[in-house]
């Protein structure tokens, strides 16, 4: 029953070792092909491609940020059980540094004054231009104003949403995230060598203020990245929604990565079924949390029925295709995983978790697709017939996803390199190795 497991690392292979040498070239080729295909499907580097890029970027960034949250919260709560999983999260969090480079295309688009992505770049509203009564009615009352009477955007929000300030904010975000991620990773790596318990105290002390800064940056970056695509719309719940998806996908990514490592013969003894069970429980919890946040946001806007807010949902739930996608998210992102992950047995099955984590990541990808693409469909599609699914081809997004995820895997492998995949000398390692779900 209580066979006491060792408090030290016994497994021979604890780093990626040569694995990444084989992975990187393949991933790099797939990445290149994917992105090129995406450009071809989009017909160039215009608005279509940029939206596909933004959407996939938001998807990957949310995973990094979720992992950064994992590391911080585990230190903050002095968690012992999760020590063997924490290194994977630390490595993913570190990916936020190369992710800063991948942000450049978006930043360049904004700084060049092009409004293919964010309508606020040139200070315009770009609300639907159609004469169609239904389209105008849904696009908000602004359209019925003579142009001279429209609220000048510059006066309203330009102080916040302008290219210069936007760029400045993102520099700050990446400095903070990069700083946090490197502090946690390198301190933990240092502890691998020295085994000093004081380093744990240092990370714990650092985690508390870091969490505050992290929360603030997460709030504003979620406004900046996706909510400001539609500058007219606003929801105070938006950062929480972004956060819920990010954390769920981070937990899924960590679990999936652990399974991948173990299938390739790494960290086989350190991560046990008990850890998976706990991760499964927490994923279950965050599925419910995501549903709770998504439903609350919808209910409040639906119930109050204020046109400034409802048009955002109207685009997503009243147009063909998007309507289907909304139901897919409701059922696929909430109901199916909720029922599927309820049982104890399935949470303790590695095969089930392998499928479930991939499924959850696909759903999270669809979630970002749902957040970004109706915006493109409405602005650039033009006319009421352009606002449904029939004029929309998601191939560019899928190709872009394949490419960018491959690039992300390559980046992750480079960051892993020879680094140990578990925290070798964490003082709570023994507790984690002997972790048992009661």
């Amino acid at each position: 029953m209580h066979e006491t497991r060792p408090a030290k690392i016994t497994s021979p292979v604890v780093s990626l070792g040569n694995g990444y040498v084989r992975t990187i070239p393949v991933a790099a080729i797939v990445a290149a092909v994917g992105v090129v295909l995406a450009i071809l499907f989009s017909g160039g580097l215009g608005a279509r491609f940029m939206h596909a890029y933004l959407m996939n970027y938001a998807f990957l960034l949310s995973i990094c940020l979720g992992c950064l949250f994992f590391v911080t919260i585990m230190h903050l709560t002095r968690a012992g059980w999760s020590v063997t999983l924490r290194r994977i999260a630390e490595l993913y969090a570190m990916c936020v540094v190369p992710m800063a480079l991948l942000f450049l295309p978006i930043l360049v688009t904004v700084l060049s004054g092009s409004d293919v992505l964010y309508p606020w770049v040139d200070g315009g509203w770009s609300m639907g231009d159609s004469d169609d009564p239904a389209a105008v009615a849904t696009a908000g009352f602004i359209n019925s104003l003579p142009v001279a009477q429209r609220p000048p955007f510059e006066q309203l929000k330009y102080g916040f949403l302008n290219p210069g300030f936007f760029a400045g904010r993102w520099v700050v975000y990446f400095l903070i995230w990069g700083g946090m991620a490197s502090f946690f990773l390198f301190t933990s790596l240092k502890q691998d060598k020295t085994g000093e318990g004081s380093l744990t105290h240092r990370m714990q002390a650092f985690a508390a203020p870091a969490m505050i800064v992290f929360a603030a940056t997460l709030v504003f970056s979620s406004f900046d990245l996706e909510m400001s695509l539609e500058p007219f719309w606003f929801s105070t719940m938006y950062p929480v929604y972004f956060f819920a998806g990010a954390v769920l996908s981070a937990w899924a990514t960590i679990t999936l990565t652990a399974l991948w490592f173990q299938r390739t013969g790494r960290v086989t003894d350190e991560i046990t079924i008990e850890h998976y069970h706990d991760m499964g429980k927490m994923m279950f919890g965050f599925i419910v949390f995501w549903g709770y946040i998504a439903f609350s946001q919808f209910l409040l806007i639906w119930y109050a029925n204020i046109p400034e807010e409802t048009f955002w949902y109207n685009w997503r739930i009243n147009y063909p295709g998007w309507k289907t996608l909304s139901y897919v998210l409701l059922i696929g992102h909430l109901f199916i995983p909720f029922l599927a992950m309820m049982g104890r047995t399935v949470r303790r099955s590695k095969n089930f978790l392998f499928g479930a984590t991939i499924y959850l990541l696909v759903m999270h990808w669809l979630d970002h697709f749902w957040l970004v693409m109706p915006h493109y469909n409405h602005y650039v599609g033009g006319g009421i017939e352009g606002r449904g699914w029939d004029t929309f081809n998601p191939m560019a997004d899928i190709a872009c996803a394949v490419g960018m995820i491959a690039a992300f895997i390559a980046i992750f492998c480079v960051i892993c390199r020879d680094r140990p995949l578990v925290a070798l000398q964490d003082p709570r390692l023994g507790e984690s190795l002997n972790h048992e779900v009661h």
């Binding site: 029953m1 209580h2 009564p133 239904a134 009615a137 019925s144 003579p146 439903f295 639906w302 009661h438």
Partner: protein, 486 residues
């Protein structure tokens, strides 16, 4: 106490109870017992000891499945309750039929608004099922347990651990089992004996229970007997002065009569709560002798007002225009009613209305509040309400007469639409447009007239009203059968 039982001829041995001092020895003893082939045994501890379940062969309980079933049932019940009561007129629970009513513009059947209550019903049902299910599966409450007669056993809720081998077990042997228990480290061993004489309940308990049940049933029975009965007495009023307030409400009879009291508290013989005005009385501020200012009609034609007598008549005559118009074949805007004399309208603003920037600003503000919803901010006839209604009308979901563009040639200029007539349109409505005199004070109506004129003068270029030819185009866009709005 335990010793007493041992000597009792009427008692039956039901097991051997062994005491241990710490959880580890208990788990070890359980494991030994299982290995020795015992199947019927139970361990007792002050807190749940992990590792004991497999040791004495406890299978996982089916409680979670029961709760899941209850939760799924609660989904159906919760949603069904709300659908039946709020969004259906079903009456299979007669005499309590569903009562669908519209509220805050929500559909009678609106799932999002039904989620919270459904959720609470699910949780409530599941929690009660969990609670009751656990006790029932555990066969509790059971107050008559022979274990409670053993004084040593009292420490099971404090700091001692016990293993009980039951006499029903095939392997059980009074002497051999005791030896085994001693070998496994039992600190003390006692027999568990059931006192057979104790089995009967004291006689007074069933009697008391039956009497208690009868007493408890009396109030509901009394209520039920009155169910659906008529009663000549008024119902109980806890705070009478809240229910019977001595006040007059509009369009009611004298208060006490309305409340169904026997005593008639008549203030007026006709039972009205208020008096009608004396014939010829003019309400304060409603003298309206300045016909130009108040009606937009030249003083010379003031008799036209008295001939119409009241605003109500004006409105009726305006709607009567429909019949005249369909036969005349004129442009709809020009289809004046037979009694309308175009010359009667004032063509200049009356004295006391000074057209200046301030008035125009006021007019614009009022226009945007009252008129723009249908006519649009620029008066193009493309207000949001109009657009939405047209879209609905196109689907056959509503009937709607399109709002006119104020830039149409046939509603512009003194010849066809002098300021007095515009003022009259605002005051009394025209076509399907309703009167606004109740909402807009006289001065503001003139301000709007001024602003409408200003809009028409600037002739904002918009789709639909572009050049002279577009007049026809826009006329075509408007439903030809419809009465124009101005």
């Amino acid at each position: 106490m335990a010793e007493n039982n041992n000597n009792n001829a009427d008692s039956k041995l039901i097991g051997l109870l062994a005491q241990f001092d710490d959880p580890e020895s208990l788990v070890a003893a359980c494991n030994h017992a299982r290995e020795a082939g015992y199947k019927k045994m139970d361990a007792y501890s002050p807190f749940p000891v992990h590792g004991i379940d497999p040791a004495i062969g406890i299978k996982r309980t089916i409680l979670p499945l029961i709760v899941l079933a209850a939760a799924l049932g609660a989904v159906v019940v919760g949603l069904g309750l709300q659908i039946y009561t709020n969004s259906s007129a079903l009456d299979f629970l007669a005499p309590f039929p569903g009562y669908p009513f519209q509220i805050s513009g929500k559909p009678v059947f609106s799932i999002p608004a039904n989620i919270p209550v459904t959720f609470e019903i699910i949780v409530l049902t599941s929690a009660i099922t969990t609670f009751l299910g656990m006790w029932i599966l555990n066969r509790l409450p059971m107050f008559a347990n022979p274990l409670h007669r053993i004084s040593r056993f009292k420490r099971v809720t404090n700091d001692k651990f016990f293993l009980c081998l039951e006499a029903k077990d095939e392997k059980f042997n009074r002497a051999a089992s005791e030896t085994q228990l001693n070998k496994w480290g039992a600190v003390a061993i006692e027999e568990v004996r059931q006192d057979l004489t104790d089995n009967d309940l004291p006689k007074w308990i069933p009697t008391a229970a039956i009497l208690g049940a009868i007493v408890l049933l009396l109030p509901p029975a009394a209520i039920f007997s009155q169910w659906g009965q008529t009663n000549r007495h008024p119902r109980l009023h806890v705070v009478p002065d809240m229910d019977w307030q001595h006040k007059f409400k509009t369009q009611t009879m004298a208060p006490n009569l309305a409340n169904g009291l026997d005593e008639v508290d008549l203030m007026y013989a006709d039972l009205r709560s208020a008096r009608r005005p004396v014939d010829g009385a003019v309400a304060f501020g409603s003298l309206d002798i300045d016909s130009e200012m108040n009606f937009g009609i030249k003083q010379d034609f003031a008799h036209a007002i008295s001939s119409r007598k009241s605003m109500r008549t004006l409105l009726v005559s305006a709607t009567d225009d429909k019949t005249a118009e369909s036969s005349s074949g004129d442009s709809p805007a020009l289809a004046a009613d037979a009694t309308e004399n175009i010359d009667q309208w004032v063509t200049t603003f009356p004295e006391g209305v000074e057209v200046n920037e301030k008035l125009l600003a006021r007019g614009q503000q009022r226009f945007n509040i009252y008129c723009a919803a249908c006519h649009g901010y620029a008066g193009q006839g493309n207000g949001l309400v109009n657009q939405k209604a047209l879209a609905l009308a196109a689907n056959g979901d509503a009937t709607w007469t399109a709002a006119r563009s104020l830039h149409d040639a046939d509603v512009k200029g003194d010849a066809k639409n002098p300021v007095g007539r515009i003022y009259d349109t605002i005051t009394n409505g025209r076509g399907n447009m309703g009167p606004y005199r109740a909402q807009i004070p006289v001065e503001d109506r003139w301000a709007i007239v001024a602003y409408v004129r200003a809009l028409q003068e600037t002739g904002l270029k918009t789709p639909g009203v572009d050049a002279a030819t577009d007049g026809e185009e826009s006329a075509e866009k408007v439903d030809p059968d419809a009465k124009p709005k101005e």
